[in-house]
């Protein structure tokens, strides 16, 4: 736990910016996501996710943020790319997981069994279900963390490591 004065001052200043600009950034992210086809509660969850990622980046680069003459403009710029990144990530994982679920429901075909075996060598049933809920069923991080009884930070780290492992080991079919 950080106790130095510099860190505490940074935290206070950052919190002020967070509270001041969170609503506007959320509104911005929702408008951008709505334009790309997101709807309903999934839209709200996606927008919150994008904004939290924006502030996560901002926290790590808070020196630059604090020095900016237009903090909201700086944050908007980051949020713009975070929304794009989130959509690309979701698209990629949705495609992967959809392909897997379609193959698995095909049943006894060689392709289905092979994919099921390959998938299970990389992901456990629980891990697959976790990714499916996030990318196919529209769960938000908050909803998943509540369901699983985990802190959001722990859930986020778990998913990050899971995706890294899958990306390393998964062989994409051409």
């Amino acid at each position: 736990m950080k106790t130095n004065d510099h860190y505490n001052r940074d935290t206070e200043r950052f919190e002020q910016l967070y509270r001041e600009h969170f609503p506007a950034l959320l509104r911005f992210a929702m408008a951008r996501l709505r334009a790309r086809g997101s709807t309903g509660t999934h839209l709200q969850g996606q927008a919150e996710e994008a904004v939290q990622e924006t502030f996560s980046f901002a926290w790590v680069n808070r020196g630059t943020l604090f020095a900016s003459p237009a903090p909201l403009g700086w944050l908007i710029n980051v949020c713009h790319y975070k929304v794009l990144e989130l959509l690309r990530e979701e698209h990629m994982w949705s495609k992967r997981l959809l392909r897997v679920s379609e193959r698995i429901t095909e049943g006894g075909s060689d392709g289905g069994l092979r994919l099921r075996a390959e998938m299970r060598s990389i992901l456990s049933e629980e891990e697959y279900t976790l990714l499916k809920k996030l990318y196919l069923d529209g769960y938000t991080y908050r909803e998943l963390s509540q369901e699983m009884g985990l802190k959001q930070s722990a859930l986020a780290m778990r998913i990050k490591r899971l995706k890294e492992r899958v990306s390393r080991e998964w062989k994409e079919e051409k």
């Binding site: 860190y7 502030f55 790590v60 680069n61 908007i76 780290m157």
Partner: protein
């Protein structure tokens, strides 16, 4: 509808637009940078308007802040990178030790030198280590979906480098775009387990280098590399499913990546935009 210039929102008559029309102004065409000033003005109008609407959903900033603190500020690994200013770090990998030395000179020059042991000590971990310095990955929108289609120009600025690299590998690693006209000088050095191809590009007042190391094995990637950077965060760009790391050493920028067993480093009098353009031209025209 796109509006240019620095104007107060009343001059733009934003108040007269419907919320739907205002939301359209928040859109940024693909490949363009967002007009943050316009977007700020538009958001101001939208937020003020929605604050007056009694049925507009409230934003629970308190809950969001608590979530954020839990996710980000408790993640010591992510946040400590911005907080710490390491003077000395020692990393141990197996039976080999890697000394990472970071020194600040009077002129605030920070030099990071990685001295690696044998291949089994470090290898590809050097790129994972670089990744630990990065804040996030910004990806070039849309480029990853395009098939690789590099078109070598008639007057190839990297003719000699390309010829030397082609002797060792057919992987796409040499750009086609050059940030400025420069004289090319290429040297090729055969090493025990790699070939080091070094291109120097000099104009009257600027210069840069492109170093290509073709290793006998992918396991050897990064084992004899020296990366110079200051204490700023490294930018990570994923292009063609390969992560490219752009780092700053005060006045100079450099980019390093590897494609299978080939490691590439571009550095010199280049802006980040120059580097991005050069990297993209490795894969696409």
């Amino acid at each position: 509808m796109r509006v240019n210039g620095h104007k107060h929102n009343s001059d733009l008559m934003l108040d007269r637009l419907s919320t739907q029309e205002l939301e359209r102004l928040l859109y940024t065409p693909e490949g363009e940078e967002p007009d943050t000033e316009l977007i700020s003005d538009v958001l101001e109008v939208i937020m003020a308007r929605e604050a007056e609407e009694t049925d507009a959903p409230a934003v629970d900033v308190d809950a969001a802040w608590e979530d954020f603190k839990e996710r980000c500020m408790e993640q010591d690994e992510a946040c400590a990178l911005a907080d710490e200013e390491p003077q000395n770090k020692k990393l141990k990998t197996g039976n080999h030790s890697v000394l990472v030395l970071l020194r600040r000179f009077a002129a605030a020059v920070a030099v990071l030198i990685l001295m690696c042991g044998t291949a089994s000590a470090f290898g590809l971990d050097i790129f994972h280590w670089l990744a630990s310095w990065t804040a996030e990955t910004f990806r070039f929108s849309g480029l990853d979906d395009l098939p690789i289609s590099q078109d070598i120009p008639e007057e190839d600025p990297y003719q000699d480098l390309r010829a030397a690299v082609a002797e060792e590998t057919d992987l796409p690693v040499v750009p086609t775009r050059a940030p400025f006209e420069a004289a090319e000088e290429v040297t090729v050095t055969q090493r025990l387990d790699s070939v080091f191809i070094h291109g120097e590009y000099k104009s009257e007042d600027k210069e840069y280098t492109i170093s290509v190391i073709v290793y006998d094995s992918i396991d050897l990637i990064g084992t004899d590399s020296i990366f110079l950077k200051d204490d700023s965060i490294i930018d990570r760009h994923e292009i063609n499913h390969i992560e490219h790391y752009v780092m700053k050493n005060y006045d100079h920028f450099s980019c390093v990546w590897h494609n299978e067993n080939v490691q590439v480093q571009i550095q010199g009098s280049l802006t980040p935009e120059d580097l991005e353009s050069m990297i993209a031209s490795v894969y696409w025209e």
